[in-house]
Symmetry: C2
Subunit: 324 residues, 2 copies
């Protein structure tokens, strides 16, 4: 396909967000906001963060954008825009490129997001770098530093499924779990849920990209508190437990890339949280409590005793990323 | 250097922009704006868009950010934030990484910009992807589509110097021109100038990244007008003309990466434009006029006659980029 024809197929013909002032096609994109603006960025390198051997490019695009939407959710914001910088190797076909954008569009449509910029250049290794913007009512940012003594800890969805799905893809057996593979390829970031909690006076949120062991430690450190997690309450899907009984527990803690939310709220706001989860048909589980501490740490309690949960993350097929 | 120590050296300890709500260190960055927001992104691949053989990493960083600042300038906006996604090969030293950020910081400081995000990952080819934000008073965006019949055409600075500097670096002779090399490595995007023209009722602007042949054609197409350029008025530095008498004229038209501004204004606002240029000690040259036309095109007039100027760009060492 001629390259400008390819670009014409990708450029949006209308914008879902009414805040667009000047869309794609000038030196830069222009928008207007009466709310706070949230901005995040995420870079994925082929054979480091994803593989076309286990993921078609539609899923690569969807998942790359999902990582950004999950970060926007973790700030409590409503997703609005995304921009895509691609470095493509010569072996990419037109169909693979269009499928990559279609994968992003599938998620973008669900969250009313617009594609507002980016560029495509050639290189010797594929890189997908996405940036995204969201909107936030003033002073409703949901930060890692907002956990307080007495808060209850919650998590959305089930954990470890994405790691299980990766296992299915990398070491296929006689049967495969479509559920786990779908959770790996097409995770559902909880942006609508997070943005719908503006009535809560205070909420601490972090998204689960590296596993809750890592994310819980980030909250403990940022808030200067101790988190107590009840191991048996950490939600694991029946599918994961059935197929990987020996690994399910560990993957639930450190599997990563589930793109669910981990958070803490005041006990008095539990009910409002549950109400929103019911409304959106989202599984919500209370898995622990927060206590004051001079030493920020995460304790994992189980019938076998209590241990300190180290911030070990998801390292399989994924090099740890250094983020600003 | 231990990686977290490296990151500590890069993360800003304060923010120059008062609009920062939540700085680096959570799932995303948050800011607040009473003005319109301009957003741009630019990806550079090693050995495609830059080479560490001819540029130290300080200059690579400076120039990568300069390309973004130039896009912000071309919209008439004041630069505010930037974010850096890096894919680094294993041979990068700590010193090279810090120099890259120092190079960006040198330009950022001049424009009161803050580093507000990004990530660093490993790969087999170096990629520097920068995104940047600027602020714009409502309805003061300066678009390519704003040229009108009767406008005068102007350009800042001198053209072709960056291309000359590249030649000095790639084919070093017995002497080198420090001036041309500096113009290639450390171009000066005209953001302060562009943002200082808010009193003008209408202004068409485009930045010169691919050479004015290309940029003038973009204006002609976007505005649906004919641009008449006077060849002998296109500003060329004495240094470029002396060292490259045979190529200077061509490089001035299609050299690219000068990061100057090409624009059109109503004749009645020429004086206000000149006044701002004088105030900031910027060279400003009027090089032609705009006329109505059913056929968008650029005509180049010279004593030898008139020719249609095709949108040929800068292709040496740089693959054409497909931008949204």
């Amino acid at each position: 396909m001629e390259e400008f024809e390819l670009i014409r197929k990708i450029i949006p013909t209308y914008y879902r967000q009414p805040s667009v002032v000047k869309g794609v096609g000038d030196d830069a994109f222009v928008f207007r906001s009466s709310e706070d603006i949230v901005f995040t960025t995420d870079t994925m390198v082929e054979e480091v963060h994803f593989s076309r051997k286990t993921m078609d490019t539609h899923a690569v695009g969807y998942r790359a954008l999902a990582a950004n939407v999950s970060d926007l959710a973790a700030m409590g914001s409503r997703p609005a825009f995304y921009s895509v910088s691609l470095v493509l190797t010569p072996d990419w076909t037109d169909e693979e490129i269009l499928a990559l954008y279609d994968g992003m569009e599938q998620l973008a449509e669900k969250h009313s997001m617009d594609l507002v910029g980016g560029d495509t250049v050639s290189g010797s290794q594929t890189v997908v770098a996405i940036t995204a913007h969201g909107y936030l009512p003033p002073d409703k940012g949901r930060y890692r530093s907002d956990a307080e003594d007495g808060d209850v800890i919650f998590v959305t969805g089930t954990l470890g499924d994405s790691r299980g799905g990766l296992e299915e893809l990398m070491n296929p057996g006689e049967s495969v779990s479509g559920h786990l593979i779908a959770r790996h390829r097409y995770p559902e970031p909880k942006a609508e849920f997070a943005a719908g909690l503006t009535s809560l006076s205070r909420l601490c949120l972090n998204d689960i990209s590296d596993g809750i062991a890592s994310e819980a430690n980030e909250i403990a450190t940022a808030s200067g508190v101790r988190l107590h997690l009840q191991k048996e309450k950490v939600p694991v899907s029946e599918e994961l437990r059935n197929r990987y009984p020996d690994q399910a527990g560990e993957w639930a803690l450190s599997g990563g890339e589930d793109f669910e939310l981990l958070g803490t709220v005041a006990p008095g706001e539990k009910e409002a949280l549950l109400e929103k989860a019911r409304e959106l048909d989202i599984r919500l589980t209370f898995i622990g409590t927060v206590s004051a501490s001079d030493l920020p740490e995460v304790l994992l309690h189980s019938p076998q005793g209590t241990e300190t949960l180290q911030p070990t993350g998801y390292t399989h097929l994924k090099e740890r990323r250094k983020r600003l």
